[in-house]
Symmetry: C2
């Protein structure tokens, strides 16, 4: 009986994920989902949910922002941003597939949006945004912190500093889906009005939950916008939490169990130490790339520390590499969308360590006979 | 080590849920969530997700409708309905808190909506809807199948028959959150254009996923509506599934594991047998209510078979009852919202059986000295 219960969790034979999400989830976390359900209007739930919000606030050093965990993929926060923070016109900066998705989403919500695109692989700079914002009247702008398709890490703190100084009333929306929890990011220091992420990336958790930090100004502005809907209504979500420390709809309780436990581990390791571990993995990857005559896709100085996108300069088949890696119970990602085969992606985020990364790279060396 | 792994799942001491959601989840299902993660762009995921859609189609005897499982609470389908199927004006029939939420949601999405309210406890009849629809020009109308706040089960098949015959082009939207999977409901036989539910009710699963069945006409209509958004864009969701058998955003993989396994069990038990089991529990509850001089809140002939709402005619404290039940590791629900203490709710849905229900009612008898 015991063995029968354990069997589904046996991990020694499963394929370890070096994708930029869903990332590898530890056995301890997987099992934490299996606790019995509780009523979402009971005090046991309130304790769990408020505990999670408090832990997020402690980890991300929140002093006066609002924090919310939603039952949905991170993408829903693109809709929420559009419907709650864009009244007249938004500027969407793009540098890859996911920042493009934000641009598309704002338009698909029926809002007016201009695109400010930089070449894929390049970072988005504060002066470019200042320049673009000066050309028209905008009430929101969007930036991706860590573009998962190009491996670019945009200077969101510097952008916040320069742009919010010039345009304090323009809402600053940051997609940090693939970096928050791994990279060192303080929502308030970024001066973000809304910054969001999801659990299946640097938090090393199963997918299905996403979280956002919201400035008091964003909350106030949202109250004045019509057509926010219900499941995407920032005001209703935050007010319900404010009143009851619960969620208006039934949340994904088992996923909240795992987030709760993971936040304990993250607080114990420390935000700085986690970021240092990710930086070490990124640096090691970059030196390995250089050593073998390959190139990083991202502009120098703006490389992500959670996902490395490597130009496939050796001209080998990435699909075949992954086939071989799978035989060894490992997997990385091919390039995203138009960058397929032109690049490959190593998601060194979440719970991975440098020594595990070395093992992965050793396998690639052996397969490609580097 | 084994014991340490097992401990979080030990259920012998947990409080068993007779709420109308989240409902009791079996140990086997809880553990099924704990399998290692897989990439959502891999064939292993495609097999899992397409398998789930196929099983849903088999269980609900789908021949030409679209089926989708979304990572979100059931409530998101209220937003999706409003944004994808209401162009000019909707008629929202209300008979309790959750049908009210649908009415509110359509308005909050910036769409015009009229309310057709019946007294709480009463059912919504086809002739009332026909009458209301004749008074103005509508392009959609909404009905709750099983109103969780009043225990009313609306005659959705009869409504579909009469109303769609008269108004074939008006979109018929059914909220079946607390009955689908327990009661006998065939989306196509209901002539619903969109009917939705979530996993934490009659499916006896953890919350976090919701599913909908969509008519070809609804899919075509959605394509012509502006402002659908991204996470709430029915067209994008269905087209992505049609092309790739995947979801556009990262879905809740661990919850899909549990849905997959539960659908096997549901197919094995059979839709009719499941409905019969629920009907037996409902009938037993009703006769118990009568025997002890209490009354059902719902209109005779329209009582839900998944949740019984009992008028608190004995004038005892429901809160105190629940306190005592909790000591016995059991819980039911107080009345919803304005019906608190005036009613109590027994969610006999999901995996519960008549003999387990008898045990629960025996405890209530003992506590209240009936």
């Amino acid at each position: 009986m015991l063995l029968q219960l354990i069997r589904p969790m046996k991990q020694n034979k499963h394929t370890r994920l070096w994708n930029p999400g869903p990332t590898e989830v530890s056995e301890r976390i997987l099992i934490s989902q299996s606790k019995p359900m509780i009523g979402h209007r009971e005090s046991t739930f309130t304790d769990l949910y408020k505990g999670i919000i408090d832990k997020l606030n402690r980890f991300f050093e929140i002093t006066n922002y609002h924090t919310y965990v939603h039952t949905a993929s991170g993408s829903i926060w693109m809709d929420i941003s559009a419907r709650n923070l864009v009244r007249d016109k938004a500027l969407s900066t793009t540098c890859g597939s996911f920042s493009e998705r934000m641009y598309q989403t704002i338009g698909s919500c029926g809002k007016t949006v201009d695109k400010m695109a930089v070449e894929w692989g390049k970072a988005t700079k504060p002066e470019q945004i200042l320049d673009a914002l000066s050309k028209d009247k905008y009430d929101a702008f969007t930036v991706v912190h860590n573009e998962t398709s190009t491996g670019v890490r945009n200077p969101t703190v510097e952008i916040g500093k320069q742009v919010k100084k010039e345009y304090p009333d323009i809402m600053y929306i940051i997609d940090a889906v693939s970096s928050l929890g791994g990279d060192f990011i303080l929502p308030e220091k970024n001066q973000a009005d809304l910054i969001f992420a999801s659990t299946q990336k640097a938090f090393a958790l199963p997918p299905g939950l996403s979280m956002a930090f919201i400035s008091p100004e964003a909350f106030e502005k949202a109250k004045t916008l019509p057509g926010r809907g219900q499941y995407t209504d920032l005001v209703a979500l935050l007010e319900y939490y404010g009143k009851k420390n619960q969620t208006p709809s039934t949340p994904a309780i088992s996923l909240l169990y795992s987030l709760d436990i993971q936040l304990d581990a993250m607080l114990a390791e420390g935000h700085n130490n986690i970021a240092k571990r990710h930086e070490d993995m990124a640096k090691y990857t970059r030196s390995w790339v250089e050593k073998h005559g390959m190139k990083m896709f991202a502009e120098k100085g703006y490389e992500s520390i959670t996902v490395s996108i490597v130009e496939n300069t050796l001209g080998k088949s990435v699909a075949d590499l992954n086939k071989e890696l799978r035989k060894r119970k490992l997997t990385i990602s091919n390039g995203y969308s138009q960058l397929k085969e032109k690049t490959f992606r190593i998601g060194h985020m979440g719970s991975w360590t440098v020594s595990e990364l070395k093992e992965l790279l050793w396998h690639i060396e052996e397969i490609w006979q580097l």
